[in-house]
Symmetry: C2
Subunit: 310 residues, 2 copies
């Protein structure tokens, strides 16, 4: 594939420009903010590098699109994609980051951080024994790069980790992987659910009333995509204690609108899509590695399967 002109569109276009320029790559680049990016830039480009797409822009004319994020739903979900256009995605320390994010909220729960903080306010000394990680059962939805790294870290610490995937294929660090059709059979035993799934037509509103009715007193953590969750069903499940608390890093609409009732629910923890941030350094390293694999015709481990959607 012959790549000459590359357009990079990002809120952090300046940092990316400095980092890429320092690497001395022999290509023509345009580094642009989302506002300044025009259809003409796209006509000029062989390759498009961004987190995002713009409405009414035609991405089928470039040879290669590289997503600066791990998720590619903004390129594929409910959209047509020209299969001749190569689509790649950023893979970096997302797994480690998401694993630490999830672990922090599991430990916060089993170590009773909030209870002890409340007791402190009232100067009360009331011992309560924390639970141990090796007493916890966690179900991770998605057994790819991110789900597996999370399973690795949790299982190293003694957590019993189950997985759910499209295929149900066994994977290292999971005690058992269930195909998505059968995930109900283990749900009643589970202490924590972690969603890491990409957004596709199969995962849209996967976490709905039916799922929540099958669980009891569970901690629900969403680090996948907001649209995989039926928010109304979650609020009901919190009310009826099927879900004990929810930790949400992703939302169907981001930033989460002020009017959204999730903000006011005291059992909901909200973080602003920070569990798997791409740092400019890592984004540039992954982009350059992908570019050199393309030019040298080497296999790409971060190529997106358009029919699967991830």
């Amino acid at each position: 594939m012959d790549i000459k002109n590359i357009v990079v569109v990002s809120p952090m276009y300046n940092e990316l420009k400095t980092l890429i320029t320092n690497k001395g790559i022999q290509k023509n680049f345009r580094f642009l903010s989302e506002e300044n990016f025009t259809k003409n830039d796209l006509l000029w480009a062989d390759a498009f590098v961004s987190f995002n797409t713009k409405k009414d822009y035609d991405y089928s004319q470039v040879k290669w699109v590289h997503s600066l994020g791990a998720g590619v739903d903004r390129f594929l979900f409910k959209k047509k994609w020209n299969e001749e256009v190569l689509l790649t995605r950023t893979i970096c320390s997302f797994g480690q980051r998401i694993a630490e994010y999830c672990l922090s909220y599991i430990l916060k729960d089993i170590q009773f951080h909030d209870e002890f903080q409340q007791l402190k306010v009232h100067k009360q000394w009331k011992p309560k024994t924390p639970k141990l990680l090796n007493e916890q059962k966690v179900m991770i939805y998605g057994t790819g790069e991110i789900g597996q790294q999370t399973a690795k870290i949790l299982s190293l610490l003694g957590v019993q980790v189950y997985g759910v995937s499209l295929s149900g294929k066994e994977k290292e660090y999971f005690k058992e992987v269930l195909p998505v059709e059968d995930h109900f059979i283990r749900l009643s035993e589970i202490d924590f659910i972690i969603n890491t799934l990409p957004l596709t037509e199969k995962t849209e509103k996967l976490f709905d009333e039916k799922v929540f009715k099958n669980i009891n007193n569970v901690g629900f953590i969403n680090v996948g995509r907001g649209a995989s969750l039926d928010e109304k069903a979650l609020l009901d499940a919190l009310h009826h204690e099927h879900v004990r608390f929810a930790v949400l890093d992703v939302f169907a609409e981001e930033p989460l609108p002020e009017s959204n009732p999730l903000w006011e629910n005291r059992k909901v923890f909200i973080t602003p899509h920070i569990s798997a941030v791409t740092t400019p350094d890592e984004a540039v390293d992954c982009f350059i590695e992908t570019l050199s694999c393309i030019e040298e015709n080497k296999p790409l481990h971060n190529k997106v399967d358009i029919t699967k959607g991830f």
Copy 2:
């Protein structure tokens, strides 16, 4: 050693009685609360099993004292001990428990739990990238059972772990172990300090003004003994940001008196001595294992070195 009569003194004496009775051990037992335990019980006993000692009671007449906790300062610190009396202590899942406790507060800090919770109250969406464990340097005081298990778990997750001990002897899972005289040389690089040291004359008020002046913006976690900390020096260090926050599970006086200013400092997290709880099951298992080693003249891995004090 011939053990016939054993007195067990504990607030959980009833649970211990049930568990020990179920094991069918051929000894004479008295299971008592602290209030009902008298000097006559001690005169009757060959062995004394408890968390605690009573003032004016003479423990030098029994053959064996078994501490239901990991720490034995209540038996040895600023007290005389008849070296002919065997002293053993409970070793069980303390290491795992304390490691998870410390990890939970390190993650709470680097994942900005409190900042995001504050933003949620105001419905504000302000991304901030969490820090990673592999960017953190932790200094653990005490490289015994508990310190080493904590080092193991933190280093598995990528944390750079340094140790401080009396001898400075290298130990697995520590990048480097410093003798206590030299610990200042690394202090300025450290992000978190964890104290797991037993209370002895050498560790009393070890964390004083001199130590805190050498650190900057550090998270200080005390799971050792309260009397190893100079509380006034800590409050000053919090005020001058040498210490960013403190997590205290142990105190010179427990329960922590209502009048203690630590309660009102918003940079101090207080837990009621719960980081290493002995469950009745574990306490009984360890006691029975120790008893059978004594009777069969096997080596004891939980025998206390009276001159060292742990």
